[in-house]
């Protein structure tokens, strides 16, 4: 259980770039058999949302934001033994960032979420060129694709990318999401068939990963 006091201690370690302080907290939580879902949503996601807000409000520098991202990415890797031990369902998803999108942590967490639910979550990384994505999709033939944008100025890149993918794979279900939709921008995708805007990891879980549970 992550109470507010623990969260604030973690957040303070994160903002000061104390990898060892954060590691100690995360290892302690893993040892206490906390669910990966809670760790992802109530610690990693919440803290990085706050980091993003502090950056937007000019309360922390971009360097500090990058430091927090690096530390969080490392901490996420501590959860992998649990994430990758899930029973496989045989379903495959490709998770990627648009060209020009360098913030990858949200997309990576989505990829891990797929893995946690027994999917093969192929994660392609930040700033993935469209041609490489098409080539990889042709090889893997996924059941689903998820594309993330973390900053709103990548909306145009996302639209271009979606258009290109639909041209080659018209029936492929595509999920779009990320903090880039925080201030809107979803209307461009509403009329498109097989395209869904996902606003949270919970929504991803209930609508696509574990729909029978609802």
């Amino acid at each position: 259980m992550i109470d507010n006091k623990l969260f604030l201690t973690y957040q303070s370690s994160l903002l000061s770039g104390s990898r060892s302080g954060c590691t100690q907290i995360v290892n302690g939580l893993i040892k206490s058999e906390i669910s990966i879902k809670e760790l992802y949503i109530n610690l990693f996601q919440r803290s990085m949302y706050e980091v993003g807000t502090l950056w937007e409000q000019n309360k922390i520098s971009v360097a500090t934001e990058h430091l927090c991202t690096s530390v969080t990415e490392y901490l996420i890797s501590l959860c992998y033994p649990s994430i990758f031990s899930a029973e496989h369902t045989g379903k495959k998803a490709i998770i990627t960032c648009t060209p020009g999108e360098y913030h990858q942590i949200g997309a990576r967490m989505v990829a891990d979420y797929f893995e946690l639910h027994g999917w093969d979550g192929y994660y392609l990384g930040a700033d993935t060129p469209a041609d490489e994505l098409i080539k990889f999709t042709t090889e893997k033939l996924p059941d689903l694709m998820a594309i993330s944008i973390s900053v709103s100025f990548n909306h145009a890149n996302l639209l271009r990318l979606v258009d290109k993918i639909r041209h080659t794979f018209p029936d492929l279900t595509i999920l779009v999401g990320g903090q880039g939709f925080r201030w809107g921008g979803d209307e461009a995708f509403q009329s498109l068939e097989n395209i869904y805007l996902i606003r949270s990891l919970d929504e991803l879980e209930t609508k696509f990963l574990n729909p029978q549970a609802t």
């Binding site: 690096s70 990415e73 990576r108 990829a111 990384g125």
Partner: protein, 373 residues
């Protein structure tokens, strides 16, 4: 304009600026420094020598030279509180009795570095993710392999038992009616079946060890007695090859906590190996002695010895050395790997010393029982 702005600028430089600002005496002592420089270095610089701040790689700091170069920006490495040198771009101004030093970091350079570090870090994390995913997949495959191995070996034991039983029966009951060729054939069936059963038992052991199902039923026992018992059993086989087995124990050995069946299996493996690779007329010596808080067993032969480059793989599964047995005995390549795992499971150690042409000594040690506090 300047006269009015000067105090404001001076105040800004001293309190808020992220520029290195120093007033230096002609002797190289720091007369004034701003807050940022003190924080960067991690101490108040006023009164200290300049060489406590400037890291001059390879040559002594020459202020006169620095002043001469001051028409150009000069790169100087600074010692910092973070214990990492930082490069600043300096200009030095001669103010008469003092020198003004102004230094700036190159933010463009730092930005590029940060971007590159960020990309490398992302790449590293993505590779870690891939690696961990592959590890999980391999772990699952290994579990499947162990399951398969266990099931296959278990199910093959019964038919082999039947083959052994009937060949025994034929050799015992019909020996009078069999031709010499038929007897040889039946003995071959019997020997091969025995080897197959031995192999299957070792595969089952290995599968249990690899899947973490090795169960040790440890109890306080007399290891000397167990060694003597095993020497008696192996003595029969040794005698057939004209090899002697001797036991030496000069100390009183206390009871040790171990799984009797498993340690017997180890003794049998090491002693029968020693016989297997020894020549006629030689002696196999089994020594038992105390070493600190362990009891150590050494099985030494006067055999052919193991080439040094093969020693490392001795305890790995499915590894057979180039050393040939002296009586045509077969090896599964699994025995020593199982032995090692059983010893490790007891919290002990196993090692070997060997010299080609002289012989080999296999040692294993088990922890002694700690006296109750």
């Amino acid at each position: 304009m300047m006269p009015e702005t000067s105090p404001i600028l001076a105040d800004y430089i001293m309190r808020d600026s992220t520029m290195v600002f120093l007033i230096i005496g002609k002797e190289g002592n720091i007369l004034e420094s701003n807050n940022f420089t003190d924080a960067l270095v991690g101490k108040k610089l006023k009164g200290l020598a300049l060489n406590e701040l400037f890291i001059d790689f390879g040559k002594a700091l020459d202020l006169d030279q620095l002043l001469k170069e001051s028409t150009e920006k000069t790169l100087v490495n600074l010692s910092t509180a973070a214990n990492l040198p930082e490069t600043y771009y300096f200009r030095f101004y001669d103010l008469g009795n003092t020198i003004l030093a102004l230094g700036e970091a190159n933010n463009y350079e730092i930005g590029l570095l940060r971007k590159s570090m960020l990309e490398l870090n992302q790449e590293l994390n993505n590779l870690t993710r891939e690696l961990q995913k592959k590890n999980a997949e391999l772990k699952k495959l290994n579990e499947l392999k162990n399951q398969f191995l266990g099931i296959a070996a278990h199910d093959l034991r019964n038919p082999i038992g039947i083959i052994m039983g009937y060949s025994d029966f034929l050799l015992e009951e019909l020996i009078e009616e069999l031709t010499p060729d038929q007897i040889v054939m039946l003995e071959t069936i019997q020997n091969t079946s025995e080897f197959m059963l031995h192999l299957l038992n070792e595969l089952l052991d290995l599968s249990a060890i690899e899947s973490g199902k090795l169960r040790l039923e440890k109890q306080k026992s007399d290891i000397s007695a167990l060694i003597r018992k095993n020497i008696t059993i192996n003595g029969v086989i040794a005698a057939k090859k004209n090899i002697q087995i001797q036991m030496q124990s000069f100390e009183s050995i206390p009871d040790v906590l171990f799984d009797e069946n498993k340690i017997e299996q180890i003794l049998n493996n090491l002693i029968s190996n020693a016989i297997k690779f020894s020549l006629a007329g030689t002696t196999v010596r089994v020594n038992l002695f105390l070493t600190g808080d362990h009891v150590t067993v050494a099985v030494a032969d006067q055999g052919q010895g193991i080439p040094p480059h093969e020693i490392d793989r001795l305890f790995k599964p499915f590894q057979v050395t180039s050393v040939k047995s002296t009586g045509g005995e077969k090896s599964t390549g699994l025995g020593l790997s199982i032995v090692r795992n059983i010893i490790l499971g007891h919290g002990g150690k196993i090692w070997v010393e060997s010299k080609v042409g002289v012989g080999s000594t296999f040692y294993f040690s088990l922890p002694l029982l700690r006296p109750s506090p």
